[in-house]
Symmetry: C2
Subunit: 470 residues, 2 copies
């Protein structure tokens, strides 16, 4: 498939042969991500300029070679997997641009910048870049843009897409376009910015982004609320949000999550409760002091067992550490973790918890639930062992039922992980044939040769959920 002629032409496009990788030993690093399946590319290119990307894309069109853009490979849905071989575009050698323009409250970034660095730089100017996916210290902004990454702060601040003002994009046929710009308000034609962000690398290759920053809140306050009944936790979330307060985070941990953390690294969490909510308020110190008291009163009114307002930063850090420990804690039992992100309307959280317990019992699986309760973005995690083929078949069925349940409750297949390869077979279940067709029309109009990230979002003939390497 990759002929001598193609290699020769690539060497002319790329300024250096060092950035063309073809050895098996190199390719293996690009064959997986944080989801399932192993797929080898034919070669890996490490472009360092928009011009190189243009050259590569034009060549790929000429020879119909798939291109798979890749950041650091933290995708939980198969976004960067080179499922049809071809070229992986690795942005790790691209020079890191991270410019903060405080007067315009924007950041200008290149695709390989680590997400957390944007907020760190913004902080120096009294500003904030709100999106905070759990992987933000590892993941690149390019991947975050492609997948429209979320995170705990989504509740108050929205997701990646809400902070993208403009893009430089190489189209699937190798044209360079600029979308949006430097202003919050822009209604000049169709919103290609928000179409491309979250399109999982299927509609264009992002080579630069202009991100909106906001004034950094002066202070934060963490509150832990514990419940004897998880249904009360659901009510508490709604009650807080209709009391005039919008917390920056509202995270839930079920009893299984709490126990797992305590068994892993004892922090002193109450293991006999049905659920725990961690709330973070941010803003003016006087406001959050008062709001903390309102949150306490509201939660106690709807049946919380106890409310603890963190006394200082150390106490707050300890609580957030507990939340962060859930993922490493739960994989101690079994090595394989399937992290779902089926998202439901907030009012359906108690029902979703009930249904998840039924699914757990029905398929005899190990299921732990935690996540971003404030915005209905739960993370049911199934703990298993992918070597255990029999159990994996039950897990696949359980995952399918989680998807169906989320949709039945008015929710969506994916809140923040993306469709990728994992959820492509379920798109029609949520969107209907006509809905998927309108998306496909855009893909075909933009990428007639199906060059960019083929095999993602849209199910291929006979495709089904596969969690076991075949």
């Amino acid at each position: 498939m990759i002929t001598e002629e193609i290699i020769h032409r690539l060497k002319n496009i790329m300024d250096s042969e060092d950035r063309i990788l073809m050895e098996k030993a190199d390719l293996v690093s690009y064959s997986y991500d944080a989801s399932f399946g192993t797929y080898f590319p034919d070669l890996v290119l490490q472009p360092i300029s928009t011009e190189e990307v243009v050259g590569i894309v034009k060549l790929a069109n000429e020879f119909t070679i798939p291109i798979y853009p890749r950041g650091t490979g933290t995708s939980l849905s198969g976004g960067p997997l080179p499922v049809h071989g071809g070229i992986v575009l690795d942005f790790s050698r691209w020079s890191q641009t991270l410019i903060i323009d405080a007067a315009d409250t924007i950041a200008i970034v290149s695709p390989g910048v680590i997400t957390a660095d944007i907020d760190s730089e913004a902080k120096k100017h009294g500003l904030m870049y709100p999106p905070d996916p759990s992987s933000s210290h590892v993941s690149t902004i390019g991947g975050n843009l492609a997948e429209n990454a979320g995170g705990p702060r989504g509740l108050k601040y929205g997701v990646t897409k809400d902070y993208v003002l403009g893009l430089e994009v190489v189209t699937p046929e190798g044209e360079v376009i600029r979308t949006g710009g430097r202003t919050i308000k822009n209604v000049t034609g169709y919103d290609l910015t928000k179409l491309i962000v979250g399109s999982e690398g299927t509609l264009g290759i992002i080579t630069e982004a202009i991100l909106q920053l906001i004034p950094r809140p002066l202070s934060t306050q963490t509150i832990m609320v514990i419940f004897d009944d998880i249904v009360d936790a659901g009510h508490a979330i709604s009650s807080v949000l209709t009391s005039g307060i919008l917390p920056s985070k509202m995270e839930i941990m079920d009893q299984a999550s709490i126990i797992a953390v305590e068994e892993y690294q004892p922090i002193g969490l109450p293991v006999d409760v049905d659920a725990m909510i961690l709330i973070e308020l941010d803003g003016h110190p006087l406001a959050i002091k008062d709001e903390s008291e309102i949150v306490k009163r509201v939660c106690l009114e709807v049946g919380a067992r106890d409310v603890e307002i963190a006394k200082d930063d150390a106490a707050a850090s300890k609580l957030w550490k507990a939340r962060k420990l859930v993922s490493p804690a739960i994989v101690r039992k079994k090595p394989t973790k399937i992290s779902e992100d089926a998202t439901i309307p907030r009012s359906k959280i108690p029902e979703m918890f009930k249904r998840l317990q039924e699914i757990k019992a029905k398929y005899e699986i190990d299921l732990v639930v935690f996540g971003h309760a404030g915005d209905g973005n739960l993370h049911p995690n199934i703990i298993t062992n992918k070597q255990d083929k029999e159990e994996m078949k039950r897990v696949e069925k359980a995952v399918e039922e989680i998807f169906a349940t989320a949709i039945e409750l008015g929710g969506t297949l994916s809140g923040e992980h993306g469709i990728g390869t994992m959820k492509a077979p379920f798109m029609v279940m949520e969107l209907g044939e006509a809905g998927v067709d309108m998306m496909k029309r855009i893909k075909m109009a933009w990428d007639p040769n199906n060059i960019l990230n083929p095999g993602k979002i849209f199910a291929e003939k006979g495709q089904r959920l596969v969690l076991v390497d075949e």
Copy 2:
């Protein structure tokens, strides 16, 4: 063009003949909007259900009849103008659905609901619908969605698009699709919601929308800041925004605006200042009390002549009334007002003011500048008389130069009014041929017969800016 057969079929589609208008006297009401030009439709249909819209759209495809959806016609860019005749779809008879679901903090609305009513209903539940276009007491949400309406609160809260979670849409070929849903987080496939919102009725007819609401801030505080030099006003805006404070509104009025208001309805504004900024803070009362003092200090530091913190609601109302009076005040001089919305990065506000004064002098026009300074969305308004053909030619040239200047300064043709007929000829200037081409591909893939709102966004052969009826 509209044959007896078509009328007959329409009578079968529509449940009642009363909602098919064909008399000239009726059509005249649908021939204009708040922009320029007069165009008569062949007939007006007043659907009351999604099924009727589907029937109409399918028929229109069969006979290639243009369809022009219309709310209350407040568009400043020609959005609803039936420039190629055909059918105007008037949503005024559609039953008004406005359901607040406080637990999910959403509103479900039908297209004909008056925008301001959504916030009024939300308020009863301690919630807020933030987008506040100046026309919100007259305009419908359907029109706001089509045009992605903005408003003063865009600075802190963003625009219409930022509050749309899901849509029911009739596609240009008459299929019904649902996009998005009820959750903040949703990355299931391409973001058709944000593509359709702001597409000016060219990609689908919105028949229902699910809108996100947020907790209503507990209080507001208005502050008036006056400047001897408008350049200092620009610096003050940036300084406030990097001091950890995000005001809900930051509106600017230049001296010409202030004088116009004082001559129209004397309020006691200082007419000898170069510019005035009106700031609104919202949030917790303790926070905004403290933030008001910070705003005062920061503004004085960068050279404000005076800062007045409104003592009570009555004082605040008086100041906001002054801002609202600018539009009626300036049309007293001459009857025709051309309201532009060219938007620039915030840091370029002082430069933009300078350039606007040069344009004013060069073309000898009457130019007043006010608008949403906090987000760079200025409203240069040209006051003229459209009967004065000679002056109108100069006005057309001045408008073109305003567009070019905004783009040169890194801004955009339209911040919140839309492209419509008015700005279509200038799209390539901002987006390049490739950028416009990618938009056209979507239009052609979705609407192969060019049925929906033809003549908008994309310039037709030879189209140029026309402010004078030919």
